[in-house]
């Protein structure tokens, strides 16, 4: 956990994409998604480095980074810690794909400067599975087939986790309200709500 998945010979999928990344079309073929997220890697490199020291505590581990103040938590997670579970989609706090927990509460990581997250406990989707076993929420999403393309899924799971930490036995309406800040373009909402309700039952040992 923590580093990108290896594809072969010690090259991560992301570092391979970064090398190959000048060909946006190749990125698109390999990932099946918009190339802009990968192209943004190049744009994010600071031209004038007035970097600050930031200690990010993510999924229980501390990481000391030197970052430009303008780097958002989302970009720090993806480009500096190689945790790509949180996704950039709208990059303006509307779609929820970048949702992570800060001190147990769901937030949009695209709307927070990484330096502002210093000293706070960040949890990303990579931090949920323990010893190779999926978190009950993740397992429920698989069981209920609560995804199609899967791009929004980590955001939905983190928002749902935020809800279940505060409310162990939510109603359907409470689930809908808690997930209203997340968009699923495939439209799998019904199954997502079922998965969250199922996970709530499992986590209370009622199923």
């Amino acid at each position: 956990m923590g580093k990108g998945r290896k594809v072969s010979g010690g090259v991560t999928r992301r570092s391979f994409l970064k090398v190959a990344g000048s060909g946006a079309a190749l990125t698109e073929v390999l990932t099946g998604c918009r190339p802009s997220a990968e192209v943004a890697v190049a744009e994010e490199q600071p031209q004038v480095a007035t970097k600050v020291s930031v200690t990010l505590r993510v999924n229980g581990k501390s990481h000391r980074l030197q970052l430009e103040p303008r780097v958002t938590l989302l970009n720090a997670l993806r480009h500096h810690l190689h945790l790509t579970g949180a996704k950039p989609v709208c990059d303006r706090g509307e779609c929820g794909a970048c949702t992570v927990l800060m001190d147990g509460k769901p937030i949009y990581s695209c709307m927070l400067l990484a330096v502002d997250a210093d000293g706070h406990e960040i949890t990303t989707v990579e931090g949920l599975a323990q010893d190779g076993r999926l978190h009950p929420l993740q397992a429920a999403f698989v069981e209920k087939d609560a995804l199609q393309c899967g791009f929004c899924t980590p955001g939905f799971i983190m928002a749902a986790l935020g809800l279940l930490r505060e409310n162990k036995n939510p109603t359907l309406e409470q689930v809908r309200a808690a997930l209203s800040g997340n968009i699923c373009r495939c439209g799998v909402y019904t199954r997502i709500f079922e998965a969250v309700l199922e996970a709530a039952k499992k986590m209370q040992g009622r199923a």
Binding site: V48, V52, G93, E94, I107, Y108, M111, A159, S180, G181
Partner: protein, 292 residues
């Protein structure tokens, strides 16, 4: 996003120093849900971003001597869930709970909602109804500005660049002050208001209105109070005809524009309709509590 320098003052004093030092070149960062977005889109390009610290008085949330003190960094989520705010200022708790999504409410702050001064800021009509006082502090001076004198236009306020909004103070008006809030929007969640209406009425034992507040959002360049409508209610025992008259006066106070969320005509009609509905509900609730 453009490159900027970052300052993280430790306390109020250091924040005032930084604000004084950078003036218009600096920008205060609280929750960031507006500022990060404005910078991401290039609408604001401050040289320096000064983070408002998560310390007292910016994080204060308490009642002292009949006054509720809300620090500028208190989040929408805190206002939504705080037992104190839910009990004593339900109209603010409700308005805060209708801002954005859970993820936004966990970051966005009351100070940010006020200073950003959007005509559609959801907590602003609620704060107008509550006679909120804004504490604006700079090096060596402190002034208190009533919220109805704070807004000048969209994004424009009487705050000077070196002034820091430290906290909001709200007098507790007691059980006889009954409030209502309604946010009209297309989606139930995660939407910007087409019209916001907040109402507060203070009735005496005989059912006459002693004092009233009617505040509107998203229908003028700033959130506004419908003062003529409020005046019309005072001293009166409300009837259906009077409520209708008051709702028309509220409508007259608004000056809505047409945008992608709704036409000026629609907003105009809804101000009348919602004022009438909320005022009726508030008066019914206050007479119900009067019989206890």
């Amino acid at each position: 996003m453009h490159s900027f320098d970052y300052r993280a003052p430790k306390d109020l004093e250091e924040t005032l120093e930084e604000a004084a030092h950078w003036g218009e070149k600096g920008r205060l960062l609280a929750g960031g849900t507006d500022l990060i977005l404005f910078m991401e889109r290039g609408r604001l390009r401050p040289e320096v971003v000064i983070e408002v610290p998560r310390t007292e008085p910016f994080t204060t949330l308490e009642e002292t001597n009949g006054m509720i003190r809300i620090g500028a960094r208190v989040t929408m989520g805190q206002l939504e869930h705080s037992p104190l705010i839910r009990e004593k200022l339900p109209v603010l708790s409700q308005a805060a709970g209708e801002v954005g999504s859970v993820q936004i409410r966990n970051l966005a702050t009351i100070g940010g909602n006020i200073v950003t001064a959007s005509p559609a800021g959801d907590t602003l009509p609620a704060l107008l109804v509550l006679d909120a006082q804004l504490m604006l502090q700079k090096k060596g001076s402190l002034r208190t500005v009533p919220i109805d004198q704070f807004f000048l236009g969209p994004g424009q306020t009487v705050r000077e660049p070196d002034e820091v909004l430290t906290e909001v103070r709200v007098p507790v008006k007691g059980d006889r002050f009954v409030t209502q809030f309604y946010k009209l929007a297309v989606r139930s969640y995660m939407d910007i208001a087409i019209v916001d209406v907040a109402i507060g009425v203070y009735t005496n034992g005989d059912g006459a209105v002693e004092d009233a507040r009617i505040a509107l959002g998203s229908v003028a360049p700033t959130p506004i109070r419908a003062r003529e409508a409020e005046e019309r209610l005072k001293g009166q025992v409300p009837t259906e005809t009077l409520i209708d008259e008051v709702a028309l006066l509220a409508q007259k106070a608004s000056s809505p524009i047409t945008d992608q969320r709704g036409s000026a005509e629609y907003r105009w009609l809804m101000v009348y309709r919602l004022t009438k509905r909320l005022l009726t509900n508030a008066l019914l609730n206050s007479s119900a509590s009067g019989h206890r």
